[in-house]
Assembly symmetry: C2
Homo-oligomer: 237 residues x 2
């Protein structure tokens, strides 16, 4: 049986091999949730970009919107922040566009996984679709939590646990982080929002008035799309 | 209220400040459990040493025993391995001696905390005594899990959660790792050994025939001592 490993922070990624594995990158609050919302809204592709400067070079491109934040706050020169609900509210404007994104943690975590056999971008909003896809691949999986500036966080750990737990019939637990996040998820799966309300990131983000966004991100959604990284673009699989 | 933070791996320690804090270092399987067993057996002090070579310089010292392992296996030139039960079985021989110890993860983690205001060495075997001591100090606490070669492991995460959970009336949760290990501990506190049986390290160690040692390490014991690092020696507080 293939295995599923969990890496709780990009700072621990050097301890793992990505060779031939499927990397599942998540930054639940909110980068990867925003990416899934964008693809659900008809965006053609999401281009993750590490630096603000690189993202800004796309500002005048045709059919392109630039989105992102640092420390939870929209970058002033950008078109959009890092909010799934903001995107879902302007579906008509984003459909058919390319969304360039740069965020504090998420886009760096995606960049760190480029050596993997395949890179999948995941969120709770498309959890079931991602699980169904992964279960069929018969490949080793490494779930990378973006965390907060290297620190382990609650929401990404819960997502990693949802993946590890969801694959228990097709994959073995590859490390203790898979085992412990899986148990964490089982304890909280009926109340993901409540679990995150007690966390450090919740306070940080709630200060910016994004509680509704957090509720959206912590709900297992019914998006049927699987998001893959291909030639530096995140697209529907 | 002071806070309790948890650092799940020495590889994440650079993200935290140790300044003025009490660091609680644990390597449950088995270095810090062996250290507590040694102090309980009447050892005068434990000297943690990072390298095998440094430890070997103590081999002919009077009133000194040298103990330790690499990858779970006793170092051939040393007097003892890294087993709490081995020490407890030869109490008469170790009482009054200094125990020099070098292990794969634990002694390195202790070394990494030297900048802290105070360093405490903890194990499940003296959990209650350590909690009682910490609750009275009114200091910020950082629990450092030694992990396995930088990787997060189950047994050290459970211990960190036992500390975070045990201090909930005197300390606030300082980070998400404190929160999630606390929840992990609450889910498993009645069955710590069973929780570890599913982990990666269990297989690694059980291969060396030390299941009884693991049972000892995963049992909340009644040792009443608190172990502190002072001038490079671990002694009773």
């Amino acid at each position: 049986m293939p295995q599923v490993e969990v890496c709780l922070s990009p700072e621990l990624l050097h301890l793992y091999s990505l060779d031939g594995k499927i990397a599942v990158v998540n930054d639940i609050l909110r980068a990867t949730s925003t990416m899934i919302a964008a693809l659900d809204s008809g965006v053609k592709a999401v281009r993750p970009v590490v630096s603000i400067e690189d993202a800004e070079t796309y500002l005048q491109h045709p059919n392109t919107l630039v989105a992102g934040e640092r420390n939870g706050i929209k970058i002033p020169s950008f078109d959009l922040g890092n909010s799934p609900l903001e995107i879902l509210n302007i579906k008509e404007q984003v459909a058919g566009q390319t969304l360039v994104m740069s965020t504090t943690n998420g886009t760096k975590a995606i960049d760190a996984c480029r050596e993997a056999g395949q890179v999948i971008i995941g969120a709770f909003t498309n959890l079931e679709a991602t699980l169904q896809y992964l279960a069929k691949q018969e490949k080793d999986i490494l779930v990378l939590c973006a965390g907060w500036k290297g620190r382990v966080n609650m929401e990404d750990s819960l997502y990693a646990g949802a993946i590890a737990n969801g694959l228990h019939t097709t994959h073995t637990m590859g490390n203790d982080s898979a085992l412990l996040t899986s148990q964490l998820y089982k304890a909280h799966k009926e109340s993901l929002f409540a679990a995150v309300k007690a966390s450090s990131h919740f306070e940080r983000l709630a200060n910016h008035g994004v509680e509704e966004d957090i509720k959206h991100c912590m709900r297992i959604g019914n998006s049927t799309l699987v998001a893959v990284l291909q030639d530096n673009l995140i697209i529907r699989q």
